[in-house]
Amino acid sequence: MKELDVVLTAFREATGCEAAVWLEGPNGRLVATASSNAGASPPPFPPAHTEPPRRVITARGEMLVTAISGPRAAWLAIGPCGAGGAAELDAYRRFLLPVVTQYLQSALEVEHAAAELAERYEEINLLYTISEILGRAVTLEETAVTILEEVSGTVGARRASILVHDRVTDTLNVVAALGVVAAEAPPIAVDDPNSVSARVFREQHLRIVEEGEMLCDAERPYRKGAMMSVPIMWTSPTGGSEPLGVVNLSGRHGDQPFTAGDQKLMAAIATQIGTAIQNARLVRSSLNQQKLLQEMQLAHDLQMKLLPRADVVAPEATVSARVIPAESVGGDFYNLFRLGEGRTGVMIGDVSSHGYRAALIMALTMSATAIHAQRTSDPAQTLDALLHSVRDELESTEMFVSVFYGVVDPAAERLRYSNTGHPHAFVIGANGSCERLPALDPPLGMVPDAPAAQERPWASGEDLLLLFTDGISDARGRDGERLGEQAVLETVLKHRAEEPSEIVEHVFEILRQHMGDTPRRDDLTLVVLRS
């Protein structure tokens, strides 16, 4: 204590008396903490705190030794003195003792504060280390053992374990443990009445249990002596709190009890572990979701690739077509065929469902039609052949397909068509006429009979064939009202002189205005042909 050395040296210069402050060291020996003389010897037989100052005669002269009051065993020794000084020893003691006592008291407080700070520093350092470990890793399993090593090092526990709740089996499973192989530790049922971990998990409250309270065999491997069991909690951004697991610590060095500070520290660490578990779960589910989205996107792309480009029937026909599935894949489709001698086959269809099952039927229908359409230019025969190809599949899945298939022959100025249950097929004339081509049969798959066909005149280069699915006419607006078939027809009639691609654009524009950001419930398909 340098400052006290200076005080004691100044005291010697003023009085001619040596002075020293002695503290009891760890082995009971006295150690000078401050002295006016670096080579001073410890005073023999220092008085106890309760005893009065003691005069000691040494070879170098007389000394007065006084116990200093305070939490530590300390003494003030004054003397030996120069000539005549010994007579003043008592007076000097009365002067010096309060100064030294006060100084020692302050010094001790500083020392205590430093020790406490060091301890806090260790804890903060531990929390920091753990957050760093958790931040680097994606899964808790990678880091759990490292965390336990850090924690047990700081808290001084030789046994430690992290148990995480499995929501499927409703058990607590050891993901990491010190002193036992995690994989060999049996899971603990959350409702196990004997398990400390299970109880802490259920009650969401920290517990410290003594050795005698160990009743659950599954916990035995990672318990030794008293055990502190802390729930791992996760607090959602909305404020709800949910238990995710338990951290257990036991086997403290020297069987020291767990302090309130240990409990606070463990609660803080458990919160960090909880956040890490939750993050890991979110990362995992987000990765799964991303994968699913990618697969759905792939399926969507594949399905869109099955649909032909509108220019495959050029220059005999000018066609514009668009399909927008409600989900990533849908059951709507169209198909276009060049049938020779200037004839064009155009088909629109709707499988009676959505999603993957409908998409499979759609793909099957598309490929079967492609084969059958090339063999005959009679739509009824094509659809009958299609029905034979897909009948078993439709029956087993209880689906059906509404299909319109028309063959336009501009040279003969005829349109021949079959319609199995498709409601929205029209011929729009250049003069503004609008004729529906009604279904001649129920949808494919509902009845075993062969479909029929019908023929009507076709004004080459003028008439428009307009085909759309009920996803368009049934599209709901913000207030739930349907767009309706009439709105589509009016738009097409208004723009009938324009190119098919422009007409399609106009129809989708009124759809956009009608629907806004209302989610689509059905696939949207529109085909416009001029030939």
Binding site: S352, E398, G421, P423, A439, P443, D470
Partner: protein, 110 residues
């Protein structure tokens, strides 16, 4: 959206409230098939409180109609609103079902 089933004489009357769509069609199917299993033969589905039927809903009606026929039973539909009537006509489904304008006429037709 729900289905209520009651017996009127020897006829099972099903009321479809709300919509018959992909999300609830299986429920209707199961309810009717349960009755069929119990030996019921005459079924009437009343759509007076039905706003909308999608293509999956139509599919289930066709499937039920087949199954009831296979068991030697009969199915009648009643009270289709104008939109639904148009839908049945446009898709030619009206040729597959016996459809009555009112519940009373449907009941009399068995």
């Amino acid at each position: 959206m729900s289905f209520s089933i009651k017996k009127q004489g020897d006829i099972v009357v099903v009321d479809v409230e709300g919509q018959l769509i992909v999300g609830n069609r299986q429920e209707l199917k199961q309810k009717v098939l349960d009755e069929l299993e119990k030996g019921e033969k005459k079924f009437l589905i009343d759509f007076s409180q039905t706003g909308y039927i999608d293509s999956s809903g139509l599919g289930v009606l066709v499937s039920l109609s087949k199954k009831i026929r296979e068991q030697g039973g009969e199915l009648r539909l009643a009270n289709l609103n104008d939109d639904l009537k148009t839908l049945f006509e446009l898709t030619k489904l009206d040729t597959l079902f016996q459809i009555a304008d009112t519940r009373e006429r449907a009941l009399e037709s068995f």
